[in-house]
């Protein structure tokens, strides 16, 4: 092999090697050979978790850039995001650090937002929020499991024997069943009889279940009860109206109940009636005698008979008297 062939092969060897190096660095994406185009924005977080330079930045799931660097600034963790040229992140778009898989890498995920809200300028700060990571979720699950275990332990304690040797729920149930097996058998037998009768249409429930006419009658009865209830409701409403009127002092009863003057008048009338009745009951008074004494009645009857006879006499003397009167008038 001459020297030129050797040199050519060495040249080929280096070209292959350098090409492989370049391709590998390009494939790994964050190689220094790549000329990056785009602009940077700052995403502050309380913790960056496992986020590292080179991780994806996605807007509504679409890759729009990558994490350029991570740093601590002003008491918070910041990720500087390199956003592809031509991609605008809306101002109201919120970024969270998401996981690509259970053991995968993290990425910054932005929701789509509204472009009308404006866009984040170059070097600007994007809105972010901290999402619960797997560790927090697992910690919560651990607490939940602990609580569940405690609850199961309590249930188990209630079902099994207590620490003081007291029988558990199952043992109590077992004892209850064994002690009352005769009664339970009788009850079950009765239940069987009842259900047989219901099935064969005997009795009220049986007819109700099996006979459509009984069911219809029951429905009609219920409708009547419903109508009666409606009427009762109307009656109660009317009564309520009357009571309201009485309360407001309207009408006779209202005046009686709520008008003070009317009350006084009634008292006076009542007093007068009492006086009158006392007088009526008094045998010395005229009305008392009129009511209680029989002699007065007899005197009255005698007087009336006398009056009757006198009237009869006057009727006989009537024409003579009339002539006398006329004569007196003329002469």
């Amino acid at each position: 092999m001459n020297h030129s062939q050797m040199t050519a092969r060495v040249g080929l060897f280096f070209i292959i090697g350098l090409a492989l190096i370049w391709v590998t660095f390009e494939a790994l994406h964050n190689g220094r050979f790549e000329k990056r185009k785009g602009y940077t924005v700052v995403a502050p977080f309380s913790t960056l978790k496992e986020l590292k330079p080179g991780d994806d930045v996605r807007l509504a799931g679409v890759k729009v850039g990558s994490v350029e660097t991570t740093r601590l600034a002003e008491g918070r963790a910041e990720a500087v995001l390199l956003i592809n040229q031509g991609i605008k992140i809306p101002l109201d778009s919120t970024g969270v650090i998401s996981m690509a898989g259970l053991i995968g890498t993290n990425y910054v995920s932005f929701d789509i937002g509204h472009p009308s809200a404006g866009t984040v300028p170059e070097g600007g700060t994007v809105r972010t929020k901290d999402a619960a990571d797997l560790n927090t979720i697992m910690s919560d699950l651990g607490s939940l499991g602990k609580d569940f275990k405690n609850a199961l332990g309590q249930i188990g304690g209630a079902l099994g024997n207590g620490p003081d040797g007291q029988p558990g729920l199952f043992q109590k149930l077992d004892r209850l069943v064994s002690e009352n097996s005769g009664k339970i058998s009788t009850t079950l037998g009765n239940l069987e009889d009842i259900t047989t009768k219901i099935k064969s249409g005997e009795g009220t429930i049986g007819k109700l279940v099996n006979d459509p006419s009984a069911y219809n009658e029951l429905n009609a009865t219920l409708a009547e009860i419903r109508g009666a209830a409606t009427e009762a409701k109307t009656f109660v409403a009317n009564a309520q109206g009357i009571v309201d009127q009485v309360k407001s002092g309207k009408g006779t009863i209202g005046a009686l109940v709520y008008d003070e003057e009317a009350g006084n008048n009634i008292k006076i009338v009542s007093k007068n009636l009492r006086d009158l009745s006392e007088k009526l009951n008094n045998p010395n008074s005229s009305f008392g005698q009129l009511i209680t004494s029989d002699s007065l009645v007899r005197d009255a009857q005698s007087t009336l008979r006398k009056v009757d006879r006198a009237v009869d006499g006057m009727s006989d003397q009537g024409p003579i008297t009339a002539v006398g009167v006329v004569a007196n008038a003329l002469f």
Partner: protein, 250 residues
């Protein structure tokens, strides 16, 4: 005590050899032809065996990972495992071991022969520093071809893993998924770490080979001993250095 003294003596002479070799660096343009020769024999000549070895290392790695990871449903991580293993560890170490076996042994044998048969003395007599004529081209060449050999080994190893993932039925991981999972965790930083490691390994292997060859004394039997000593010492150095470099890079 004698062996300890020999180790220190070898270390000191290696440092001196490096210093003397790089002291002649201004005359490097005069040795370009020899550098190209060394790249051809050391780099280009090692390409077939390194390709075969890397392909099967990647394939075996993918196969073993698939067998282990399928038990807990994490086959999608085979790409990550194969990718990182080859970049950070297996690629540089395997290339360095092959270099020690193929190039290092040949270098030691050549220089030891020249030393035993007084060719080195002849060069000195002709006022040609053996460090410039014999050592510097080899050191410059290894610094040039080692990253290339390593990246080729890594990429061919990745392809071996991808072939296994695609064609072995019980693994059944698509090449796209294999490379996607590899890309998720692999960074250029790790790649640069691997290439730096391979540079250090390659330089040490060739330096040990040259130093052992030039320090050979005696007859032809010593040539064989020198080769054995150089390869063993190079392998030990590779593994010891690997630990410390990995720790420094972590």
């Amino acid at each position: 005590m004698k062996q300890l003294n020999a180790i220190f003596e070898g270390l000191g002479s290696a440092i001196l050899l490096t210093t003397r070799a790089f002291a002649t660096l201004p005359s490097a343009p005069r040795i370009i032809k020899r550098v190209v020769e060394q790249v051809f024999y050391g780099g280009y000549g090692s390409l077939p065996i390194i390709s075969i070895l890397s392909f099967f290392i990647g394939a075996v790695l993918a196969l073993q990972s698939g067998i282990s990871l399928q038990n807990f449903g994490a086959k999608q991580l085979i790409g990550t495992l194969v990718g990182e293993s080859l970049v950070r560890e297996l690629g540089p170490v395997m290339v360095a071991i092959l270099l020690a076996g193929r190039v290092g042994s040949a270098t030691t044998a050549e220089l030891a022969s020249m030393k035993v048969y007084q060719e080195v003395d002849a060069l000195v007599t002709m006022n040609i520093p053996p460090e410039r004529f014999l050592v510097l081209p080899r050191l410059l060449a290894v610094l040039l071809y080692m990253p290339v050999l390593t990246i080729i080994a890594i990429v061919i190893g990745w392809l071996g893993g991808a072939v296994i993932c695609n064609y072995v039925t019980f693994i059944g991981v698509e090449p796209a998924q294999y490379f996607q999972s590899m890309k998720q965790f692999l960074t250029t930083h790790k790649m640069v770490d691997g290439l730096v490691k391979s540079e250090i390994f390659g330089f040490c292997v060739i330096l040990i080979a040259c130093n052992t060859g030039l320090r050979t004394r005696g007859g032809p039997r010593e040539i064989g001993h020198a080769v054995t000593r150089a390869v063993v010492f190079a392998l030990i150095t590779i593994l010891v250095l690997d630990y410390f470099i990995t720790k420094a890079q972590a």
